[in-house]
């Protein structure tokens, strides 16, 4: 596959949605955007008055929808870009984007294999694009989502994920503090969580794991130990150091 040069395009912020006190979804209109697959990324370039510019890569939070691109940005205290994008960047303001990027950690609606999504914290973003792509396509492919998050207040897309949806099972694991009606103690995700919330290995699901490095390593190793073929476990790291 040979691709032409990925062009920078000028997008404008159309609307914002606050997901948590520290995470904001940015909906951008990007004329000429070529479309993307659920799980792909976009590079966002910010340029200051004096010409200084810097680029960050964000997972796209929603499936292709014309010239719309949605990302969700977690504010990192002291960060160079995320405080700007979540606090200053305002509807109507321009920003440069190029993409889509990445062709491995993607879910295609034509796929019929059952799907397990395992998210750690902000790692939910590309997995949410897959959940939404399934809904957008009217797919009946069964999905299970296991979402590890510190507290209920840290859940992204909370209203959408708590709404029942046929063929989508959502399980939350809280690592610091659970809601009052949550049966169990806060804990880091472990073998039992993945075993109970996931598919038996014999079903040969596609597994997508996204979160901080330690989380991804742990979950990927658990899936392999539970008998899932390593090549069916796709991983992506998500963290402030850009890993």
């Amino acid at each position: 596959m040979v691709q032409g040069k990925l062009a920078w395009r000028v997008g404008r912020l159309a609307e914002v949605r606050d997901e948590t006190p520290t995470a904001r979804t940015l909906v951008l209109d990007v004329p000429g955007w070529p479309g993307h697959l659920a799980g792909q990324h976009v590079d966002v370039r910010l340029t200051a008055e004096d010409g200084y510019s810097t680029t960050r890569t964000y997972s796209i939070a929603a499936p292709a929808d014309g010239e719309r691109v949605e990302i969700t940005v977690q504010r990192v205290p002291g960060g160079e870009v995320s405080p700007f994008l979540t606090e200053v960047f305002a509807p109507g303001d321009p920003v440069e984007l190029r993409g889509p990027v990445g062709g491995w950690f993607v879910w295609r609606p034509a796929s019929r294999d059952p799907v397990l999504l395992v998210a750690g914290g902000a790692g939910i973003v590309p997995l949410m694009a897959m959940v939404r792509a399934r809904r957008q396509a009217g797919s009946r492919t069964p999905f299970k989502l296991l979402y590890s998050v510190r507290t209920p207040e840290d859940v992204y897309y909370a209203g959408e994920l708590r709404r029942p949806e046929a063929g989508l099972d959502v399980t939350f694991v809280y690592s610091r503090k659970g809601p009052a009606d949550w049966p169990g103690e806060p804990h880091r995700i472990g073998v039992a969580d993945v075993n109970n919330a996931g598919w038996p290995a014999e079903f040969a699901p596609q597994c997508f794991v996204c979160g901080p490095t330690g989380f991804v390593e742990a979950v990927a190793n658990i899936l392999v130990a539970l008998g899932h073929a390593p090549r069916r476990v796709k991983t992506e790291r998500f963290g402030p150091s850009g890993s």
Binding site: Q3, V95, E96, G102
Partner: protein, 199 residues
């Protein structure tokens, strides 16, 4: 110059000439890989160079450890924009491993346990530019960073430094490896910011 985004100021401008364009410095060592880390047992470990005529040169773990090692200290640059300065490694130079390999090939496909591949020009592996590395900062290379042994080619973006390397396939014509076929640049020079195909 790009389109100015109103209100964006950015950090203090760094004039660090060791940092390629678009990179920022990290102190930790982030992990990036497409799937679970393969667990490779040393007694089964082999490193195989296969020439374009099918001739094979093979080293066991014990063979590798008896070859003269080098201890390069190098800066590394990941396409996901982090760079790390002054990383220290121990490994065997590709000049040593390829010394007796007779080939007319110009390209190499590095192949890893777990199925990962990456393509490089052969000349980028020679003349003291590349190693099969098995220690990082004085310790055995951990599995999440590609242990027991990985390719180390620090002058290219770090995805070219294939983790869990098991061999090199010499090729007369270039071909695309795993990330390269997914749209990343075929060569990957961080100083020319060759991130994606066409850059």
């Amino acid at each position: 110059m790009g389109i100015v985004t109103p209100g964006f100021q950015g950090r203090a401008r760094s004039a660090d000439d060791k940092l390629p364009p678009g990179q920022y410095l990290v102190e930790d060592f982030p992990v990036l890989s497409a799937g679970p880390a393969p667990r490779v047992r040393l007694e089964n470990w082999r490193f195989t160079v296969t020439t374009e005529t099918g001739q094979k040169h093979e080293w066991t773990w014990a063979d590798l450890k008896t070859l003269p090692s080098e201890t390069p200290t190098v800066d590394i640059h990941c396409v996901t924009r982090w760079s790390k300065f002054g990383t220290s490694w121990r490994g065997v130079s590709l000049d040593t491993l390829l010394a007796d390999v007779d080939t007319a090939a110009d390209y190499v496909m590095a192949e890893s346990h777990g199925g990962y591949t990456t393509n490089l020009p052969l000349e980028d592996l020679l003349d003291g530019q590349a190693w099969i590395a098995y220690e990082f900062e004085g310790e055995d290379l951990p599995a999440e960073h590609g242990g027991p042994a990985r390719l180390l080619v620090p002058h290219l973006y770090f995805w070219k430094s294939a983790k869990w390397v098991k061999g090199l396939r010499l090729m007369l014509d270039d071909d695309l490896g795993f990330w390269e076929a997914a749209g990343y640049h075929s060569y990957g020079d961080p100083w020319r910011e060759q991130r994606y195909q066409g850059d």
